[in-house]
């Protein structure tokens, strides 16, 4: 293989979903809707082996996420295993449950950075979206992260109820002296799609948020980086989901299944193999699932001849499937997509319905972390 070819087929980032267990139950959770169909979580040695194999493939960063990774008793050992391979190790956490001593142990094990999620600055709204208001605990965690000299990223998932509070999120991140603030809109897949009617903002709300963010980016340029991902429902072209299918990222689910993205398990006709059963490099290079939407051969019209195909890679396969039933369709968020009408209609219903979460006609679907039950709607 030429080095260019090798380079084009190498992952940079491993998203390690260590567990689906979580004390929160956010209405836009990226975990599977059918939690009970999963196998047991991989143990410490299996994850350590996965890190070794990932690094050999070219991975340089590992995101330790979940669920809530802190519920794993062996998180310190997993951080150490990742750092033993010189992987840049990000902990992506709600900060619950965490004590200062444990964060110190994680740092000493080699943790490189902490990404702390904030559901809302309004306590009632946070409780509605996540099942509890954890701001006091999160404030403590942010303070410890600073004291322990770890870089701090604040992650916020934006949706209709909190998007008008972008300014307050920015002020909070400033107050906490965060290095980065990531304002990423809900993706309407899985739980997010189930709750879309209550989560999708209007175009006006998005325009306001865009202006506020742009001003803050200029004002805070030398102090804090602000990354913003606004909803693809209000863009003309789809987002470059995962930088292209099986191109730069790989996800390993708690039970060891290797996926090109968090939601790929929802796609029909694809079977995802476990790193506990097959070498990671084999899965990455040779598995049918990883090759299914690689490159351009799979692309339908209009993607196939579109000059944007090397920029957006045809958008999100999971979104295409969940909205149209065809995983090989052009992502409907593209204004050139045959099914774009679905997006236009969703935008229109966002304008007409202004009900806050939980107060509308269709109650929000939530995951139940203790019972691990699929959601009940209505």
């Amino acid at each position: 293989m030429t080095s260019a070819a090798q380079d084009s087929l190498r992952p940079y980032t491993l998203i390690a979903e260590l567990t689906y267990r979580c004390p929160l139950r956010c209405a836009y959770c990226s975990n599977p809707v059918q939690l009970k169909q999963l196998g047991p979580e991989m143990d410490t040695e299996q994850w350590a082996s996965a890190f070794v194999q990932a690094e050999a493939l070219g991975v340089m960063q590992v995101n330790l996420t979940g669920g809530e990774p802190l519920v794993r008793d062996d998180l310190e050992a997993l951080v150490a295993a990742a750092r033993a391979r010189d992987l840049y190790t990000n902990l992506i956490t709600s900060g619950i449950p965490l004590e200062r001593e444990r964060l110190e142990r994680l740092r000493d094990a080699g943790l490189d950075s902490v990404q702390l999620s904030i559901q809302d600055v309004d306590p009632d709204a946070a409780a509605r979206i996540a099942g509890q208001d954890a701001m006091a605990a999160k404030t403590r965690v942010a303070t410890w992260v600073r004291e322990l000299q770890l870089p701090l990223t604040i992650n916020v998932v934006l949706h209709r109820e909190n998007v008008s509070r972008v300014n307050a999120f920015i002020a909070l991140a400033e107050r906490w002296q965060a290095d980065r603030l990531e304002l990423a809109h809900v993706q309407y897949l899985g739980w997010g799609l189930l709750n879309r009617e209550q989560l999708l903002p209007t175009a006006d709300m998005i325009a306001d948020a865009r202006t506020t963010i742009a001003n803050a980016q200029v004002r805070l340029r030398s102090r804090m980086e602000i990354l913003a991902v606004l909803p693809d429902y209000y863009a003309d072209r789809p987002r470059a989901c995962m930088d292209g299918w099986a191109r730069r990222y790989m996800v390993i689910a708690p039970d060891g299944r290797v996926l090109p993205c968090h939601a790929a398990h929802t796609l029909p006709g694809l079977s995802f193999e476990s790193v506990a059963e097959r070498a990671l490099g084999d899965i990455w290079h040779h598995s049918e699932a990883f090759n299914r939407f690689r490159g351009e051969d799979w692309m339908p019209a209009p993607c196939r001849t579109c000059e944007q195909r090397t920029v957006d890679f045809g958008g999100c396969r999971c979104q295409a499937f969940q909205l149209t039933g065809d995983a090989g369709a052009t992502d409907p968020t593209c204004s050139l997509a045959p099914a774009h009408d679905l997006i236009v209609k969703a935008r229109e219903s966002a304008i007409s319905g202004a009900a806050p979460i939980n107060a509308g006609a269709s109650p929000i679907a939530i995951r139940n972390p203790r019972l691990r039950r699929p959601p009940t709607i209505g």
Partner: protein, 98 residues
């Protein structure tokens, strides 16, 4: 050319780490979810930005290592790179102890 003082002491921002990409042997500065490739003289410069040496120290040291290059060129390169990395928040400056 830019406002980087010769007495300033550059070091990588916390959470920024230099690492080799084994696939293509490139050198990258890593921070959460991002990587920045160091090309040409940038690697040699960044390796000396250890929070101990001043910009002037770094220029002097590189002038010994790269005798064929004019000192003014080296000084310009160091200041330009430090300026760029500080602007991208990959590097921070400490003032020299007086």
């Amino acid at each position: 050319m830019n406002a980087i003082d010769g007495s300033a002491i550059p070091r990588l921002e916390r959470g920024v780490r230099l690492r080799v990409d084994k696939v293509n042997n490139k050198h990258l500065l890593l921070r959460p979810e991002q990587g920045f490739e160091l090309r040409g003289s940038a690697l040699a410069i960044v390796r000396l930005c250890d929070g101990q040496r001043s910009v002037n120290d770094i220029v002097a040291e590189l002038s010994v290592a790269f005798r064929e290059a004019p000192v003014t060129t080296i000084a310009d390169d160091v200041r330009a790179l430090v300026h760029t990395l500080v602007a991208r928040r990959l590097m921070v400056l400490a003032e020299a102890a007086s």
